[in-house]
Symmetry: C2
Subunit: 294 residues, 2 copies
């Protein structure tokens, strides 16, 4: 497994792979790898001859410096996991490699970056789209793989790639979950045992809405009430947002659902110890209207 730290070296390797007629899949990560990331590697492997994984904790996508400082880092075990998963190359640049001195260029997807996590974390998606653009220009992959847990991120990246005309296929991969249903996230490492237990309220909330819809309840307000009610049962959980949106445009869903609709939730899980920072978790589900409903 090759370790690369500079854009120049990566671009030369990308050109060599292309010259040899081999396809490259890129899996961009911020490290702290878990089974969710490794499923992205697996998806990439199916579509390409080489799987490259980048590890870069992107400062530009953190609106909160405390969140950046506290973001979990596990370099050695990440490399072990990459080797075990058959990753061919790890790209792990220093910050100055991706943001040269006096860096001032940004890539922004305007409308899709506004709601949901964009509203909660100003500048977050501008940081995401800028670093993903740089990674795509550095690795020149044929396909890049992103998890569907970050639904809005995937939508924003797809739009950027379409609008600017990047010659790359963007592949979304299903969310990987713990046995009890909690979506895998590097941030889960920061949950206290009690907060970890209560974090299941998010999955229960998604389930509650899905089950109500299956039983014929199409009213957005009622479905969101159910969601808030489930999350409210967990004393350590504080809702950041819970919204129903069109999966493509991310515009608000109608009062009565009549087509597949994104249910997106973000909660802060407080720690029982007040000195610890809250951990922000997100999850989502695309709700399908059951057949036979009007």
């Amino acid at each position: 497994m090759r370790l690369v730290e500079t854009v120049e070296e990566l671009q030369a390797l990308a050109d060599a792979e292309r010259a040899a007629g081999r396809r490259v899949a890129l899996v961009p990560t911020m490290g702290a790898l878990h089974a969710g990331h490794l499923s992205l590697v697996e998806q990439g492997r199916r579509r390409a001859d080489r799987v490259w994984l980048s590890i870069f904790v992107n400062p530009a996508q953190f609106d909160d410096p405390g969140d950046l400082d506290g973001y979990p880092r596990s370099w050695e075990s990440d490399l072990v996991a990459c080797r075990a998963a058959g990753v061919d190359l790890v790209f792990a640049p220093q910050a100055a490699e991706m943001y040269p001195p006096d860096s001032q260029t940004w890539v922004e997807v305007e409308e899709l970056s506004q709601p949901l996590c964009g509203a909660a974390r100003p500048g977050h998606f501008r940081g995401v789209t800028s670093i993903v653009a740089k990674l795509l220009l550095a690795a020149k992959p044929h396909v890049a793989v992103f998890g569907e847990k970050d639904f809005q991120q995937l939508a924003v990246i797809r739009r950027m790639v379409r609008d600017l005309g990047f010659d790359v296929e963007i592949l979304g991969a299903a969310t990987v979950r713990e046995a009890d249903g909690l979506a895998l996230s590097s941030r889960n490492l920061r949950l206290s045992p009690e907060a970890r237990r209560q974090a299941l309220c998010v999955v229960r909330a998604l389930d509650a809405a899905e089950q109500a819809l299956a039983a014929g309840e199409c009213r957005s307000a009622v479905l969101l009430h159910l969601v808030r009610n489930e999350i409210g049962k967990a004393p350590l959980a504080r809702i950041d947002y819970a919204e129903l949106r069109c999966p493509e445009s991310l515009s608000p869903a109608p009062e009565s659902l009549d087509c597949p609709t994104l249910l997106a939730v973000a909660v802060f899980m407080e720690s029982p110890s007040p000195s610890d920072e809250a951990v922000r978790l997100i999850d989502n589900r695309v709700l399908r209207i059951p057949e036979g409903l009007p």
Copy 2:
């Protein structure tokens, strides 16, 4: 000479050229080709095996709809000129090809886009950097050639390419001038004969500052006074800006010049007939401090 209208076809051709080990130079233009553009083709030819020229009047870089409508277009003679100059491929997309419906992604170079033409034409450089990013992603050239007449544009594009890590060399080419010194510009076609005659005030202004500096006058205010004075001698000329700036950062020059300094000028040339719109011309010179000055 091949004519291409879609990004997809251009990317396939780019891949084929690269697979065959051939280098491609891209010359992005808005058409209305003149000898200045053809000198960019010539520069490209020296650096590459293939020269591709794009013709796209980019709506996003016009802050003034009247300016966009009135921008000269000469499709047939452009193609004749390209053939004569040995251009291998012309990329001429429709607007919807470069800006798909509901397009919302922008590339922006923040600080360098602010002064000079950026201050005079809000949003102009965001339009320039976005379309150039799309053209670079579409043509995947080894080198792209831009004229130094648009000095700030060249600086902004160089910064974008550096910051995002585009794997392309940006080549600046010296301004081509008429026999009397007027910088070639597609907009010159819109000058009345009298305005064309008076437009020489711009070159005289650059000359005046250069000669004064050569004679030991380093004070910015005095040099700019000379520039404004020369332009003021032309009754049809109205100064948009006349500024001394650092050539790299575009930050304002010090009170007394002590290193190479950009003198950048934009003027509106009015028409003797009040019904015609004024024509905006730009020109610039990098002033060198004469040896032996303190």
